[in-house]
Structure formats: C-alpha cells, structure tokens
C-alpha cells in the first residue's frame, strides 16, 4: 500500500540538477511582484454592472451558503492542487512532498541536505496548511524528529516559518516558498530570535560544539529513517532499506517514465508548428526534411 521511497535512488537522481538550481532558488523565494491586487478595477465590465447590482443581494448570500458555495470544496482543493503544481514546477532541489491521502491540507515531505553543516541530513517533515487557506496564516512546517537548529523548536520540531512570512498574502506567497525556506535555513543559519536558544548560542559562540551537535542530530534523524511514519496515512513517506527486488524495478520505471496525456492516441506525433523561433510569421520555418 505504501509508496516505497528509496533514499539512495532519489538522492542520486536529484543531485545533479539540484546543485545548479540552488543558487537561483534564493532569489526566487521572494519574487518582486507589482501590487496587482490593490489596483484592480471591478472585474465586472461596465455594462454588466446594472445586472449584478440588481441581482447582488441574492448572489451575495448565495456565494456564502447557497448553490454556488457548493463549489467551494473544488476551489480549496484546486487551490491546493495548484500550489502543488507550482511546487512541481519549481523543481526544488532535494525536497519532496506528497499530500496526504486523507486531507489535502496536510503534506508529507522530506528534505535532503547535500552540503554544509547539515550535510547528509535527511529530515522528514509535515506541512500543515490552514483550512482557511489562502486567507489564513502561513502553513506550518513540523519536522518529524526535532532538528537541532536555532529556528526549530527543540520539543515540537516546528520550524519558525512565520518569520519569513509575517503575513500570508494570497497571490504572493506560495507553499513552494515555504519549502524553499525550509531548505534555506540549513544553508544560511540565522540565530536571531531563536526557537532553540541553545543552538543559537552555540552557533554564535562555539561553532565546533554546534557542529558536533548537528552531526549527532543528523545521525539521530537518519537512524530513525526507517521508522514507520508517524502519521498512519497511505501516502505518508516511508523509507525502507534498499531492496533490489523492489527498488530496482521502481527506479527503472522512474527513469523510463514519460508522461503522456491521458488518452493521447490519435494525436499527431508532435504539435504542428512551422513558426520559426523568434518569428511571429506563419510558415516562417525552413522546410525540414524531418517530416517524413
């Protein structure tokens, strides 16, 4: 039932591209966007205004609890799905997430640290998304085993996400940014206002001791890697020792996989285009002999 995760497979696969991307990732986490939300004109065109006004009392109640509020779950689900799609598109280095089977508001994740103080760390975590998303607080990130880190609560394992997202703004903040942030803290350590003062003090005062504590912590975390997932959920991420019978095959499938549309039969082999790149003229591309 449970999906099998093989540490070695995933780590090996992702390593190459993750290194390239780690540089850009930092900038991406805080994209500069124009404040579109504020300057928006009424979305209803002028000539339609009388209509909506006439019907507005009704429709406003309706959107609250009427027929059309019943589309609500679709919105929430799709919003989360869209967030998840964004995560996939970002190709975050070393981070894997998987929404829970039971609720789209809970995502299981694991992060692989490839270098730095926390090198070789494999930290499982869970993302909790508030149910009034996207209008609520920022999502919470809780490590399964508390990581020894200034910004991680030593007891609960919760990461201090809020310092990076003081106010969660829809359209501007996305869950992939939270994940990105969760990765960044392991490479750029911040000791201001720590949740774990001991770690913060050690980092500032006795980096050697800090390092050794981190190494111990990493070892501890990795020793719990094969534990059963904390959450009893079919989609919880669980690790198992490398088993060629199971994992070889899965690995091959993974590498060989090509995504196709749901039913792509009868589609042309490739999309039709004779437009030369950079041109906007139809049929500007040279005839290529490839069209056989």
């Amino acid at each position: 039932m449970n999906p099998f995760w093989s540490m070695s497979t995933n780590a090996g696969r992702k390593r190459s591209d993750s290194e390239e991307q780690s540089g850009q990732g930092e900038q991406r986490s805080s994209p500069a966007r124009p404040p579109l939300g504020k300057k928006q004109l009424p979305s209803i065109p002028k000539n339609a205004v009388p209509i909506t006004k006439a019907a507005s009392p009704a429709s406003s109640t309706q959107s609250a609890n009427g027929t059309h509020a019943s589309y609500g779950p679709f919105y929430l689900e799709y919003s989360l799905l869209a967030e998840f799609t964004l995560v996939i598109k970002q190709k975050l280095p070393g981070i894997y997430v998987q929404p829970s089977y039971r609720s789209a508001l809970m995502w299981f994740g694991v992060i692989f640290i490839r270098h730095g103080l926390y090198q070789d760390g494999v930290f499982k975590f869970t993302v909790y998304i508030p149910d009034n998303y996207p209008d609520g607080d920022c999502p919470r990130v809780v490590f399964d085993t508390p990581v020894f880190h200034p910004l991680v609560d030593p007891v609960s394992g919760e990461l201090d996400v809020r310092r990076a997202f003081t106010k969660w703004r829809r359209n501007h903040n996305h869950i992939w940014q939270v994940l990105m942030y969760a990765r960044t803290i392991f490479y750029k350590i911040n000791t201001m206002d720590p949740l774990n003062p001991e770690a913060a003090v050690l980092y500032d005062k006795d980096i050697q001791l800090f390092k050794s504590k981190v190494v111990d912590n990493v070892k501890l975390c990795n020793s719990h890697l094969f534990d059963q997932p904390k959450m009893d959920d079919p989609y919880a991420i669980s690790f198992s020792p490398w088993n060629p019978v199971v994992h070889e095959e899965a690995k091959e499938k993974m590498f060989a996989h090509k995504r196709w549309p749901e039913d792509y039969k009868g589609l042309p082999v490739s999309g039709l285009s004779w437009v030369k790149t950079g041109s906007t003229q139809p049929f500007s591309k040279e005839d290529n002999p490839l069209q056989t």
């Binding site: 999906p3 000539n47 959107s63 149910d131 996207p134 993974m254 285009s273 906007t280």
Partner: protein, 1128 residues
C-alpha cells in the same frame, strides 16, 4: 500504413483454384517437373519453328502454344529455388532452362510478330500475372523474365489509345503483382528502371507510366492501381534516381493533383441535409455518395503517397496539390456565391482536413487557408465571416473552425488569435504581468459560475418528475434523493488521482486501485474517509450534489492536457513576454478602419448589411428547401383560429419544382405593383419606433450588420449573393405556400417583397437573372443612401402607428398568401423560415428607426469625433446604460456601438475577427438555434483549452483589466445572463420550460452516448477524443451529435417532452398575449423565440460551468516537455 498492410499478396486464393496446376507439381520432384517442362517446350518450339516457315499460322497453332505455355508457366511458377550456396539460392532447373534458352522472350516475340490480338494479349497478361504472383523464385531479377514482360507491357501501351478497356483489369492486376514483388526485392526497381531506359526512352519506368492513368479509377481497379503505385513510391523512397525520374519525367504528380480537381468538380454542389443539427460530413454521410467516395479515395491516396514517397516526389506532389487543386479549385469553390455551395465547400474542406493525417499535406492545406488570397482576402478571412451568417452556413463554418482548432497548429493560432493579442495592447499596461497568472484560488471560476442566471438554478423539482430524470440529472440539480452517495469503493480520492498524475511514477500510485477511473468516480472522494477535523469534511458534504461539475473538470483537464501536449513544440510560450509584445508586428486592423472612407463605407455597409441579411435569409430558405426537417422540429399548422404543432416527420419534401415556375411567372408588372404597395407600408415602418421589436428578435441580423460592416467584400461577390438571394428567396416563398408546387408564383413572395421594400428605388423585381444584379446593386446603393433624408421627414410618426404598420404588414402577408387565406387546413408552414422573414421585417423596421434617430445623428457626430479616441471609448458604454435604463430588456447594446460601426482607428486594440465574431455570436445566444449554440460554445471551449497565457488570460482570467474598447468574454456572458434573466422574468412558466428543455438535451446526450461506441466514425482527432466520454450532464453540451439517425432517435425519444414543452410555450404565449391584434404568425415567431431562449438558458449555464472548470484546470495543468528529446 494501412495502405501497405492491405497489400498482402492477394492472388493466392483466386488464382490457384483457376490455374490449379496440372499434376500438382509441387509434390513432384524437380527432375520430373523439368522433364515435363522440356516436353512442353519441345512441342511449343515445334509449332514456333513451323510458324517461322509458313506465314499465317492456324488457330490450332495458337491453341497449342497457349496450352503448352500454360503448363510451362505453371511449372515455372511452382518451382522451388534449388539449394544454393549461402544467401542467394540458385535458380531451379526450369528457370535455368528458361534463361538459357530465353524461352519467354521467344514466346512473347512469337506472339508479337504474329500480331497480338487482344485475346492472346489478355491471356499472356494473366499468365504473367500468375507467374509473378505465385513464383517461389525472384523471377523478375532475371532479364529472361523481365525483358519479355516489359515487351508485353510495352505492347499494351498504345501511344494513342492507352490501354484497351478489355485488358485494363488484367493489366492492372499484373502491374500490381510486379509492384508487390518489387517491394519484396528492391533490386527489381533498379532493374526495371535500367531496362526501361534502354527500351522506352523518356518514359523509362514503364510500369509506372502504365499505372498512372488508373489513379483516379473507382472500384477495385483503381484501388489496385493506387496500391501498386504506392508500392513503387515506397520502394523508390530511397532511390534518388527513380524519384527524380518520377518527379521530372512522369505525370504522376500533376495527374494526381489535377485529378483531385476533376473529382472535386463532380462533387455535389449542394449537400442534402438531414436534420437540423447537421453541420459536418461524417463517414456515414459520405460513404453513400459515390463521387465523394471517389474523391476521398484519391485524397487518401495523396496522403499515403506523401507519407511514403521520396522527398522529391512529395514536394512536387504537395506543390501540385497547392497550385493545381487548392488554389484553382478549392479557392473559388469556397467563394461561390450561392449559400448552398458555400455550405458544401466548407463542409468538404472540413472533411478533407479531418481526413488528412500527413503533416506536410496538412501544412499544404493550412498554408492555403492562411496565406492564399482570393480576391484580396485570405481564405481564413472569408471563412471567418461565414460564422456570422445564420444557421447552416454558420454551423458548418463553426464546425470547420473546430476542426482547425483541434489541429493545435501554431501558425493557425497565430493568424487567428495570437497575433492580435501579441502586442498586449488589449490589456492595461499594469496588467501585462498578470497575463501569465492562473486562477489559483478559483476566483475566475467563481466569477463564471456566478453568472449562471438565478432562474436557471433549478433547486427543487416536483417529486413526480424526479423519478424519470436520468441518473446523472440529479448531480447538477443537487437533489440528494436521486443518488445515494454510498460508494464503498476504497479508491483513490479524485484529487489525489490528480496528484498522482502529476507526480508521475515518482510516487507509485495506490496499487490497489487503478487511479485511471477515479476522475469519473467522484463519489469515491466524497465518501472517502476524512479526518474529522479536516475542513474538507464539511465542505464536501455540501458539495455532494455537484458531481456534474466534476465531469466538466474532467473534460477540461483532458482538453487542456491534450492541448498542452499538442502545443509542446511550439516556437514560443506566448505568455506576453515571449514573443515580446514590442517586437510583434502590428496585427492587421479591423477591416473597415479606413477613416477617409467612413461615410462611403457606411453606405456600403448598409447595402452590405441588407444584402447580407437577405443572403442570410436565403440561407435559411435554402436550408428549408433542402432539409427534410424531421429531427425534433415542428410542423406548424395554421388555421384561422388555432395553431397546432405536430412533430415533423419525413413527409415534407420541398419544392424542387419551384424553379421553372418562377422564371415564367415573375412578371415585372406584378412585382412593381407589389413594390409600390410595400413601399407605403415600409415607409411607415422606417420611421416608427416599435419598442416591442427591440428585444430579441432582430438581434441576430443586427449583429450581422455589424460584422458585415467589418468585412471588405468585393462588390462582385455581393452581387452574386444578391442574385442568389433572390433565387433562394423565391424558393423560400414556396415554403410558405402549399406543398404541391402548383401554386401560382405571383401571389406571395415575401422575400422579394422585403427586398424591394428595402431597395425602395428598385424599379425591377428581384429576379434570379444574373443580368439584373448589377442594376440591383446600383439601386441598392442609391436606396440606402437616400434613407436618411427620407426618414428624417417622416420621423414624427408615433409608436402606435409603427406597431400597426408591422401588423398591417403581417396581415397583408397573410392575406396575400392564398395558402393561408384560401385553404385553411393543414398548411405546412415552416416556423423558422417564417420566423426568419418576420425577423427580417422587424429588423428592418427597427433598423430604420435607429437609422432615423440616433444613428443618423451619431453618424454625423462621429464623423467629426472619430479621430478623438477617448470620446469614442466611453460612448458605447453610455449608450448601453442609457438604453438599459429606459428599456431594461434592450439587448442591442453590446453589439451596436457606433464606434465599431465607423471602424476603429488603428491605434485601438483589436482582438481580431475570430474573437469578434465568436463574441458577437455569443452575445446573441438567445437568438441562436440550439445547435448553433452547442457548436459555438464548443468552439469557445476548445479555444479556451489552449494553455498559452495570452489566450488563456484573455478568455478565462476574469480579473484582467482590459482596455475599455476591448470586450471581454465575461462581459459578453454578463449581457447574455442579463437577457436570460429578463426573459425568464417575463415568462412565468420559464422554470417548467427550462426543465423540459433540459430533459430533451439530457435525452439527446444519453442517446448519443449509447450510440457512439458502435459505428463511431473513424475521423481522427476530433471524434476519437470524444468517444471516451461518459454519459453525463456534460453531454448536454453535446458537440458531436451530427449523425442524422442519432438526431432522429433523440428526437423521437424526447419528442413527448418537447411536445409538452412546445405546447406550454404556446399556452404561455396565449395567456400572456399582449392584447391587441397580434396575429397567429407573430405568436409562432414568438414561440420560436421562446424555444431558442429556453435552450439557450440551459446551454448557457452549462457553458459557464465548462468555463469555470477550464479556469480551474488551467491552474493545475503541467506542461509537457518539447518532443525533441523524445523519439518521435
């Protein structure tokens, strides 16, 4: 490749039985066979030698030679190759002997010298065919076989006459066999080629030259010839010399291309239309039309040749197809003036495009459509304008565009939509970045859904009706009783299925359940265990009834995914940055943007408009006269006292006989008299405002006028249309009359009357004679230019009189029609046709009014104000608001904006003719027929599947702020919503009618889904994707019921409901009669209006759900990587 696979050696069965070898030599040992062979040969040689000495020779000789030859060749054919050294088996002893003594050559030469009579020629052809078809050895590799064969074939090629008919089938069969064995031993091609060049000179590929004349034959013969040629093509694909020979020295390509032209000219000019919903040729439609079958065979062959041939040949063929078929034949055909021909040629083009599979052939067609100019317009432009026409032509055109859109061709999309959006001038500067945003939080979806009119949300149904509803009905209605949500299947929740899809196999899917089917089993997600504290829990409970929406989501996802897939190799993302808006060349302006011509244009546009309307009417008539109208339509029987509707059956066959009548009877005296009479009437109507006419009816035409104005049409073409119009109109007049064609012509001709009243100064009746059309055009122009003056003087007339004038007109029509006044019972009258005419009438009345009042003024105003943009921008809105204050039901607003009327200056953003015409058609949804709306929303849906942010944001991002002059989809939909609500408010039994319409559509959808698995036509792309659909409410917007039988079934199935509906429509009318003397006919027109409006309400609601689903699915779609890395 089906072509090649068909070419299995076909002779075995038939041949062996006939030529059952004498003594079953395969069992005999080679030695014996050789001895027998030698024996035969000895005897034959005897005869031959004898012949040499004595000239003439007897019939006995011939028979003897034949018999022996028969035996010998059978033996040769049956001989197995001897065990040779390694790869090349040695020749069998017989073959060795044949070669040593050159036996076949001697034989053939003997026949030739003797003078080949057809009989022995035939015999020889058959023998060789048997030999080559059945031989176990590669005979053709030996010149002792090849040379005599070529010699024989050469003898069949009469320089003057070609091949004698009697020999044709045997010859083609032989050639086919030769090609089959050539395909097995490619070396044969080389041999044939070299041998040929020695003997035949220029036509050195003899088999080829012999086959070419049979390319376009029908039946088995043509098929064999094409198969054989295709084998030559495939074999020569890698042989440059042969390919060059074919390209340079043979007539293959020209024959193929011009042959298509010839075949095209034999196609029916007019498609006999079955069913109202017919809009495209499907296999079952054309398989019975022999000329079309022939054409399609040849087209298929072209496609196959393009697929397998050497690039040289392919390029030449494509070139010839473009210059020898598309440009000289297809181009003019598409520009034919008669509506029937337009319909036919558009449907043909659609069919061709759907049938072609080869990319480069498709490219040739698309290049033709996009770039070729016929009379200054590209084919695309011309086709676009057709969408704005009425009924059938519109439907066929929409269907064509649906096909085009389904190609996912970048070049096409660029010309059609993208080039207008590329400069990003349609959005506010500050919004440009938002182009790429998707509907992350469902805001746009919410917006679309909020436009579902209140009156269309059927909340509660009488329980009695509930039971008979289809199962899926309840999903949308939100009636929990119809389906219990108990679905114990522990399948993956749908949303997680989505996740799985996106994660690909990185996370293996829940192995216990196939995630494939989850999207269609939404209930799984609802009943799936949720943690009690999850917010999803409560929300999902509330949404239980909305599973119909899930179907839409599923459809939308599939559509978008396929589109993403198909567009993955496009040159640019079209996201507002790449290609850069600044580097994009300015798109072509709207067609009427030449300011200096404004005034003139306006006059022209008037004429255009009237002509177009007439043309539109003609379309309607043509359709009526050509269709059997038996698919859920109604025969309306009018008596003085009551109107009864009866379901239409096949009984009506309309009036092909009307034509001879009209020429003899359209005497000018009658017509001028009529014209005079009409003039007085219509003069009243010009000036009289008639508020009742404002809503609804005239809309379509009005939109047409606007759109027409945007067309730049050649005068000549208009003239053609004009004359054509008259013709069709006269046809139409008979529709009004009794069914038997004995009706005297002069009594009633609405069409020409309308015409003549429009063109007041027209001294001549509008006859069908082309010679008068020039004149008509002139007077048309004069007539309309004189309108303002005329109306100004008479604009004082009151409302009341205006009302009367229309009624008088109708009365008059009624009285004039002998069928109505004289014979009261059972006159079949086609409500739509009449409705058309009535609408024309009202439209004209209203238009004159508009002309005389605001329009005239605004024209004057605008002539001066035109250069200043800002004024113009605000104007349409003002007018709209004003009109909506005074007459809330006025729906003219959106379309009728003086700004557009005068043409937009270049600087103004223009989203292109395609968007414009789609939007104006959408705006008139209330007046469109059901089928037009189904197609129309389908086209918009398909367009909205495109993932390019420019397209997506323009159509689906409801938060985008556009320039004021740019109309957005949401605006258009808003105005439709408005109209529906006004309409619903005015009809108290709207809910009941709505339910009935709903039920009809559901029944139709169900039927279709039952129908589709079997006998689904194999039209690739468009149809294949649809098959997999499950019956759902999504099928309400069923875009593929174009099968006549299917429509008929649906009609029968749903007839009862509709009849109820129809009657209630009527009773509603009667009850709500607006006092006064509204005539019966007016009521019928009203009934049709009601019917269209009610259907529209259903379609509109479903369409909004589709759009909402699209907006949501776009947010979660993942692009596909370009195919470069992937093997093709």
């Amino acid at each position: 490749m089906s072509w090649l696979s068909r070419l299995n050696p076909r002779a075995q069965g038939t041949r062996t039985s006939r030529h059952a070898a004498p003594s079953s030599p395969c069992t005999a040992d080679p030695e014996t066979c050789l001895m027998v062979f030698q024996n035969h040969w000895r005897q034959v040689s005897g005869v031959l030698k004898q012949r040499e000495s004595s000239v003439g020779g007897s019939a006995d000789d011939l028979t003897a030679v034949r018999n022996h030859t028969d035996q010998m060749l059978c033996l040769l054919a049956e001989e197995r190759p001897a065990e040779g050294d390694g790869e090349s088996p040695a020749m069998g002893p017989i073959l060795e002997m044949v070669e040593a003594e050159n036996i076949l050559e001697v034989l053939v030469q003997w026949h030739v010298r003797r003078g080949l009579d057809p009989d022995s020629q035939l015999e020889l052809l058959k023998l060789f065919e048997m030999l080559i078809g059945q031989s176990h050895q590669p005979l053709l590799l030996h010149s002792a076989v090849l040379q005599p064969l070529l010699c024989l074939l050469g003898a069949c090629l009469d320089p003057q006459l070609g091949c004698p008919t009697a020999l044709e089938s045997s010859l083609v069969l032989l050639l086919n066999q030769v090609c089959v064995s050539m395909a097995k031993q490619t070396a044969v091609l080389e041999l044939l080629f070299r041998c040929g060049s020695v003997q035949q000179g220029p036509t050195n590929l003899l088999i080829f030259s012999l086959l070419v004349p049979f390319i376009h034959r029908d039946g088995a013969l043509g098929q064999q010839a094409r198969d054989a040629l295709l084998l030559v093509m495939a074999t020569s694909a890698s042989n440059h010399a042969v390919a060059r020979h074919i390209a340079e020295n043979s007539y293959f390509c020209p024959v193929l291309a011009t042959g298509l032209s010839g075949l095209y000219s034999t196609l029916p000019r007019k498609i006999e239309v079955r069913g109202d919903d017919w809009h495209a040729l499907r296999r079952e439609d054309w398989i019975g039309v022999s000329s079309l079958v022939l054409f399609m065979n040849s087209l298929e062959f072209c496609n196959a040749v393009v697929q397998v041939a050497h690039p040289l040949v392919r390029c030449q063929l494509l070139d010839y197809l473009h210059n020898g078929f598309l440009v000289p034949v297809m181009g003019p055909a598409l520009h034919k003036s008669s509506v029937d021909e337009m319909i036919a040629s558009t449907a043909y083009l659609d069919l061709f495009l759907r049938s072609i599979t080869e990319t480069s052939l498709l490219k040739t067609f698309l290049r033709f459509i996009l770039l070729h100019r016929h009379d200054n317009d590209t084919i695309l432009d011309t086709l676009l304008t057709r969408i704005s026409s009425n009924s059938r032509l519109c439907m066929v055109s929409l269907s064509l565009f649906k096909t085009l859109l389904s190609l996912n061709c970048e070049d096409l999309m660029l010309q059609l939509v993208l080039r207008y959006l590329l400069p990003c001038t349609h959005v506010m500067l500050s919004q440009r970045r938002a182009v790429r945003e998707t509907d992350l939080y469902g805001k746009s979806a919410d917006k679309f859904l909020s436009l579902i009119p209140e009156c269309c949300r059927i909340t509660a149904m009488p329980s009695s009706e509930l039971d008979e509803e289809p199962a899926f009905w309840g999903k949308v209605l939100g009636s929990p009783t119809t389906e219990s949500p108990v679905h114990p299947r522990p399948s993956t929740p749908s949303r997680l299925a989505l996740f799985i899809r996106q994660q690909s196999s990185g996370v293996p899917a829940n192995p216990s359940s196939g995630s494939e089917d989850t999207p269609s089993s939404p209930r799984g997600s609802i009943s799936s265990p949720l943690s009690p504290d999850s917010p999803m829990h409560q929300l999902l409970d509330a949404s239980e009834g909305e599973t119909g929406y899930l179907e839409y989501l599923h459809d939308a996802r599939r559509g978008i995914e396929l589109c993403y897939w198909a567009c993955r190799d496009w040159s640019a993302p079209y996201d507002g940055e790449n290609p850069s808006p600044n580097s994009a060349p300015p798109p072509p302006p709207p067609p009427t943007s030449n300011p200096s011509l404004n005034m003139v244009k306006e006059h022209f546009s008037l004429t255009d408009a009237s002509q177009q309307r007439a043309a539109v009417m003609a379309t309607a008539h043509a359709e009526w006269s050509s269709s059997e109208q038996d698919s859920g339509e109604w025969d309306v029987t009018i008596n003085k006292n009551c109107i009864s509707l009866t379901p239409r059956s096949k009984k009506r066959s309309l009036l092909p006989s009307s034509k001879p009548l009209q020429s003899s009877l359209s005497s000018s005296s009658v017509s001028t008299e009529k014209t005079g009479a009409m003039e007085t009437v219509s003069q009243h109507s010009y000036s009289t405002p008639h508020p009742a006419l404002y809503n609804g009816m005239g809309q379509v035409e009005f939109a047409d006028t606007v759109d027409e104005r945007m067309k730049v049409k050649k005068v000549k073409r208009e003239t053609d249309i004009n004359s054509e119009v008259a013709e069709s109109v006269q046809n139409g007049s008979v529709v009004m009359g009794p069914i038997d064609a004995s009706l005297p012509y002069n009594d009633f001709n609405v069409g020409s009357k309308l015409k003549s009243s429009q063109v007041q100064m027209n001294p001549q009746p509008q006859t069908t004679l082309p010679s008068t059309s020039q004149e008509c055009l002139q007077s048309d122009g004069q007539g309309s230019s004189s309108v303002p003056g005329l109306t100004e003087t008479s604009s004082v007339t009151s409302d009341r009189r205006g009302h009367e004038s229309v009624e008088r007109l109708i009365e008059e029509l009624l009285e004039r029609a002998p069928s109505l006044s004289g014979d009261f019972k059972c006159q079949g009258i086609s409500i739509e046709a009449f409705h058309q005419e009535l609408r024309e009438l009202e439209e004209r009345v209203r238009e004159r009014k508009v002309l005389s009042h605001s329009f005239e003024e605004s024209c004057r105003d605008f002539r001066t104000a035109a250069p200043s943009l800002t004024d113009e921008d605000s104007l349409p809105v003002e007018i709209e608001q004003r009109s909506s204050e005074t007459k809330p039901e006025s729906s003219t607003t959106g379309v009728f904006s003086p700004t557009r009327l005068l043409g937009q200056p270049l600087a103004q953003p223009y989203t292109g003719p395609f968007i414009t015409v789609l939007f104006s058609k959408l705006e008139n949804m209330m007046q469109n027929s059901l089928y037009v709306n189904i197609l129309l929303t389908g086209v918009v849906f398909q367009l909205a599947c495109y993932p390019q942010p420019l397209v997506r944001s323009f159509l689906l991002n409801t938060n985008m702020v556009f320039q004021p002059s740019v109309k957005s989809l949401i605006q258009v939909l808003g105005s439709v919503k408005n109209r529906i609500e006004v309409f619903a408010a005015a009809h108290e039994d709207f809910p009941a009618m709505l339910r009935k319409a709903h039920r009809f559509l559901v029944a139709r959808g169900k039927l279709d889904s039952i129908d589709s698995p079997m006998g689904a036509p194999n039209l690739r792309r468009s149809d294949s994707s649809i098959k997999s659909r499950k019956p759902s409410l999504g099928d309400l917007i069923l875009r593929h019921t174009n099968s006549p039988t299917r429509a008929r079934h649906a009609a029968q199935l749903a007839l009862a409901h509709v009849r109820d509906g129809g009657q209630s429509l009527h009773s509603a009318l009667f009850r709500g009669g607006k006092g006064g003397g509204a005539s019966g006919l007016e009521k019928q027109a009203e009934a049709l209006r009601v019917k269209n409006a009610v259907y529209c309400a259903v379609i509109f609601s479903e369409f909004l759900k589709e759009l909402a689903a699209l907006a949501q699915e776009h947010a979660v779609a993942l692009p596909f990587p370009p195919s470069q890395g992937i093997e093709e």
